[in-house]
Amino acid sequence: MGESESYTIPELITVCLSRHMEDGLLAIVGTASYEPAIACRLAQMTHAPNLTWLFGGIGAANPKLKPMPPSTADVRGMRGAESAVGIDEIDDYELAGKVDLFFAGGIQIDRYGNLNLVCVGDYDRPRLRGPGSVGLPFLSRVKKIFIFTRAHNRRTFVEKVDFVSGVGYLDGPGSRDRLGLKEDEGPALVVTNLAVMDFDPGSKRMRLKSLHPGVSLEKVVENTGFDLLQTSNLSTTPPPSDEELRFIREEIDTEGILRRIA
């Protein structure tokens, strides 16, 4: 097992995201997204050489990182990239429906994968004012959404988001269709510090897929503010392999951001 025994939660989140990325997609990484950026690069190095991913703020395609800069708006993210377009060009691709995969989080996430970055409580007089929706409204035009967070708790995982910054399955089956969105597009995966989840195709509800090593089912249930669907074949998330960790630490995140923020 060697060094794979000592990995951090952000590193585990990263490999979970990476393993679920199919080859050939066009993916976009936005604000404050260390794990997805590194996961995209890792996926290219392991199983998805035809994945294209864009470093949102500066619009760089397939940057090498090495090391990961502190923001997708950082010009150092251009290292080894193949192109860089303006943020308005990125938005063209998002609106035109050309983006396959988008990574997103939220201060609230609900059972239907709706995301909130605006407020907790009343909109006009919030208990907590979040930073704002940024690019989450584009989720309406993106085929597949991977949700990630390091804060799997009842404040984040709520019955219903107080504000829909980015659409998931809204109020459940049929909701997307009523708005002219495809029923079978939307949130596909949720990776947290505790577990990996997906969505039940019929009920559109979030469903537990695997527990991270050392995490009990009870802990996940306790920290989730709604009933998580459970499957018969609940497994343990495979930890990062030696090779994955080597790629992350020696070829991508050479300044160790994923170890520092743990």
Partner: protein
């Protein structure tokens, strides 16, 4: 526009503090007018009550030095128009009481945390927030830049609450198809303020990284377009490499030479963000009292040169080394 390669680094020849007029301007009978203003003069172009767009994206290319002078000149009742991501450029003005209304899609410090003043004022209900998003900012500015009234978004941009709470989102029916499209109203600030790495005396500006929404803001502005820059270059340098000009001089009204004008944010290609200073700002600004002390210490009564001195030349040099 981007200059990632070593060979693109600003050459010292371009940086003489007082430029001679280029050959170009010698050969004409009347002198060509320069656009260089002092920081104080440029800020005084903005009346209280203006709609002001601030450039940059998050902590990159934020016109911080200009914002500090706006606070010193006690400009009030601003309607702030921000790029898809804003950070301390907005938080400082909001905390200092200069802002009446803000149209924003994101105000925060990314991995470093939430924006303390924005949160405080928003949660107290004292600030009018027009919640926006990236599509609205970008396509609103694009419409504004072309003199268009609005921009209709693609079919299927639906279901998110920003469109519900923001009055600048509205539906229109396409007469050809009968389909309803969400439209974003054109954004036309009175004034656009952007920061670039280099600029000549006639307003030809060079971003040394991405230009984000800066050019769109400058194009959409109705009254004034102000550029602050770390380095002045001579017109002849512009003419030698015109493809590097990212904001054309003919739409620029004023140029301010402002070295380290983004600190503690990053000026792309020149210096990185000052994480230590930013963390200290966030910590102190957790209380209103702490923020007042920060203002006293780093904003009020300090000229840009005094500010740089206070941050320390050694520290600034280090940020420059690491930022490229």
């Amino acid at each position: 526009m981007f200059r990632g390669d070593e060979s693109w680094r600003p050459r010292p020849e371009g940086l003489a503090p007082k430029e001679r007029l280029s050959e170009e301007s010698m050969s004409v009978r009347t002198e060509r007018k320069q656009k260089l203003l002092s920081l104080e003069e440029a800020v005084s172009l903005i009346p209280s009550g203006s709609a002001v767009a601030l450039g940059g994206l998050g902590l990159y290319g934020a016109p911080m030095g200009f914002v500090r002078e706006m606070i010193r000149q006690r400009i009030r009742d601003l309607s702030l128009i921000l790029s898809p991501g804003a950070s301390m450029q907005a938080d400082l003005l909001i905390g200092a009481g200069c802002v009446r209304e803000v149209q924003c899609s994101y105000i925060g410090f990314e991995d470093l945390g939430l924006a303390p003043n924005f949160r405080r004022v928003a949660e107290s209900g004292k600030l009018r927030i027009v919640d926006s998003d990236e599509a609205h900012v970008v396509f609103g500015l694009r419409a504004g830049a072309a003199g268009a009234p609005f921009f209709p978004l693609a079919e299927g941009m639906a279901g998110f609450d920003v469109a519900r709470v923001n009055p600048n989102y509205f539906p229109i029916q396409d007469p050809r198809t009968g389909k309803t499209h969400l439209c974003v109203a054109a954004i036309n600030p009175d004034v656009a303020v952007i920061h670039v790495g280099q600029c000549d005396h006639y307003g030809n500006a060079r971003h040394l990284g991405s230009r984000f929404t800066d050019l769109l803001m400058a194009k959409a502005a109705k009254k004034k377009r102000i550029v602050t820059c770390d380095e002045m270059i001579d017109l002849s340098a512009t003419q030698k490499e015109p493809h590097l000009t990212s904001v054309p001089g003919y739409i620029v009204d004023a140029v301010v030479h402002l070295p380290y004008g983004c600190h503690p944010a990053s000026s792309p290609g020149l210096y990185e963000r000052d994480e230590q200073h930013l963390r200290s700002y966030l910590k102190r600004s957790a209380s209103e009292e702490g923020f007042r002390q920060y203002l006293e210490e780093f904003v009020l009564g300090l000229s840009p040169a005094q500010y740089a001195e206070k941050i320390g030349q050694e520290r600034l040099r280090l940020l420059s080394q690491r930022g490229t």
